[in-house]
């Protein structure tokens, strides 16, 4: 009953994608967006010359994004699992308040006090994250709702603890760390952020933990079927995001010398925008730390550039919002093309082409 005769195997194969390394790199959104960043840098370099293209300018830019970069590491993991964490700004505030209060009550300006404060901030941040993760994984409440709730609760509790007045007694050791210390020629806060980014990138791209993060976001049921403890993994990922918010709290205290109760209301959205601009898909399964770094630089470079060439900084919001929407559009088009089995077409060109 075998109706198909033995024939040359190659005659019937359905050819699979055989991508060269170059083509694969080109298909990563992070690479396209890096091109956008370079265009922006070149534009401001021509418009403003050496004023823009100076070490001091980029040192300033990197200092401005240090806190967001740390938060972005956790957010990248969360979004790759197809989740979201809106609470990071509030958790940062709560952790910085707890740390600052604790350090103030002990008193002193040395590293001993600072270390206790750092530890307190990290523990507080991680605890919020684990709570988020537990509610999401075990109670099955959508991440958007859980973290919207903890956004409100963490900020509220921070205001209760302080009466709404920022705590200004941060040990000198911590503020001096930001002001005076350079490591390998890099200002201290960007250096801490850089180390965090590298560690985050290595965990995401080289370890089982990272692989499972992609798997959970890509196909949660498949992850469960192969024996991955998805609930535990989600709790750890949100815990990581909280831990990063705790670390962000330390950096913010060091940078500003005070808690920033009213100053973090848009932090979550800015970090999410950076992560998404960097090619991490809000539908999960895809993303990279490198993309997040690029996504962080775009708004920061725009802001610095606008200031230097004398455009009102308000335009930054307009530009970032536009880039964000465009980035997600490109991401979705690529996805749809992949589902149709098409070779990766350039979605921008496809958009311009008339429909048949």
């Amino acid at each position: 009953m075998s109706v198909i005769a033995k024939e040359d195997q190659s005659a019937v194969v359905d050819h699979g994608p055989q991508d060269s390394l170059l083509k694969r790199i080109g298909s990563l959104q992070a690479v396209w967006i890096l091109g956008v960043l370079l265009v922006i840098v070149v534009f401001f370099s021509i418009a403003a010359g050496s004023k823009f293209l100076s070490a001091s300018n980029f040192s300033l830019i990197s200092q401005n994004i240090a806190v967001w970069a740390v938060l972005g590491v956790g957010m990248t993991f969360v979004i790759i699992t197809s989740g979201i964490d809106l609470s990071i700004g509030s958790v940062l505030v709560f952790s910085s308040v707890v740390a600052a209060k604790l350090m103030a009550s002990i008193g002193g300006d040395g590293w001993g006090v600072a270390l206790i404060g750092i530890l307190a901030a990290l523990v507080s941040g991680a605890a919020w994250g684990v709570l988020n993760g537990f509610l999401i994984a075990k109670a099955k409440i959508p991440p958007l709702i859980v973290t919207l709730g903890s956004l409100s609760v963490a900020l509220g509790l921070a205001q209760v603890l302080t009466g709404g007045i920022d705590v200004r007694s941060v040990p000198g050791a911590l503020t001096d760390f930001n002001t005076y210390i350079k490591i390998l020629g890099i200002p201290s806060l960007p250096f801490v952020a850089l180390v965090t980014l590298i560690i985050g990138g290595v965990i995401l791209h080289r370890t089982k933990f990272g692989r499972y993060t992609y798997a959970v976001g890509s196909n949660e049921l498949a992850a469960r079927r192969v024996g991955i403890n998805v609930d535990r993994h989600l709790i750890l990922v949100y815990g990581l995001s909280g831990l990063m918010a705790g670390l962000g709290a330390v950096l913010a205290l060091s940078q500003f010398g005070t808690t920033t109760i009213a100053g973090q209301s848009l932090t979550n959205l800015n970090v999410i925008a950076a992560v998404v601009i960097g090619g991490t898909s809000i539908f999960g399964g895809e993303g990279s730390i490198f993309g997040t770094v690029v996504g962080l630089f775009i708004p920061a470079v725009l802001q610095a550039g606008f200031v230097i060439i004398g455009v009102e900084a308000f335009w930054q919001g307009v530009a970032v919002g536009t880039v964000l929407v465009a980035a997600v559009y490109v991401d979705q088009s690529r996805r749809a093309a992949a589902l149709r089995g098409a070779k990766s077409r350039n979605p921008i060109l496809a958009m311009l082409r008339p429909n048949k």
Binding site: I4, V12, G16, P17, Q18, D19, A222, G285
Partner: protein, 257 residues
């Protein structure tokens, strides 16, 4: 020859529904056995019972002639049995080797391995070897599985299952969503799996596919095995007749075996 897996008198009721009613099953090493039957005949329940996913009311299982008691899927895996589900359970954003080793990653040697670092090189090489051994059409180890054809995805799921199952692979409707060429590729893959000495249980509604690739067909109806017949010389009409009960008299029935 002792069957590699044999079930005798399996019964299981869900409320008033007897999903399995004194049902038998047997398969030898290196044999493709098709399990067919109308919807609700008990095929899926049978596979669940055979792979430790179902508690039985009564009945016995024998693995390589020895009595077998399994109560969870992990034990079935440990014995060398894997199920390829209809949805394939692949992660579309991961590539073939990442999918193949998902949940069973090879750790790097030494301290780094303890920290959770993976030996991607070894995994890629092993996956490559697995795909090469089976032939088939999956070429790229680095492209995302989601960009591949349905036939290629099926092959990846099958290669993954036989990488961990050296005794029996259960395939649930492997050709249901595939075109002609891809179906042929999957059937070729099934033959190659069989030629490695692995037993294949094929659940399918596609009678031509069953007749083309299976060595024997076991027909289920109303929770019990009503017939078992060799595919040699069998026709689609006979199989459909057995499934619906129209042709009982003409077949080699249970009692005659």
């Amino acid at each position: 020859m002792t069957p590699i897996l044999e079930a005798r008198g399996l019964s299981r009721s869900f409320g008033h529904v007897r999903a399995l009613n004194n049902a038998d099953f047997d398969i030898n090493a290196g044999e493709v056995v098709a399990l067919i039957g109308d919807n609700g005949a008990g095929k899926s329940t049978m596979v669940k019972a055979l792979t430790g996913n179902l508690d039985l009311d009564s009945g016995e299982l024998f693995f390589e002639g020895k009595p077998l008691h399994i109560s969870n899927p992990q034990e079935a895996s440990d014995l060398g049995m894997e199920v390829v589900y209809q949805d394939l359970a692949l992660a579309p954003h991961l590539n073939p080797y990442q999918n193949m080793f998902l949940g069973r990653e090879i750790p790097r040697k030494g301290f780094l391995g303890k920290l959770g670092f993976m030996d991607d090189k070894a995994m890629r090489a092993k996956a490559r070897a697995g795909f090469d051994e089976l032939g088939g059409t999956v070429r790229s180890m680095t492209a995302q599985v989601g960009t591949m054809s349905g036939g290629q995805r099926q092959q990846i799921a099958i290669v993954r299952s036989i990488a961990w199952a050296n005794k029996i692979v259960f395939l649930d409707e492997p050709t249901a969503a595939l075109g002609v060429v891809q179906t042929k590729n999957v059937l070729d893959t099934i033959r190659r799996v069989r030629d490695k000495g692995i037993a294949v249980v094929l659940i399918s509604h596609s009678m031509p596919a069953v007749l083309e690739v299976a060595d024997r067909v076991q027909v289920m109806r109303l929770g019990t095995r009503v017939a078992t017949l060799p595919t040699k010389g069998a026709t689609v009409e006979q199989l459909v007749g057995a499934m619906t009960g129209a042709l009982d008299a003409n077949l080699t029935t249970e009692e005659a075996l």
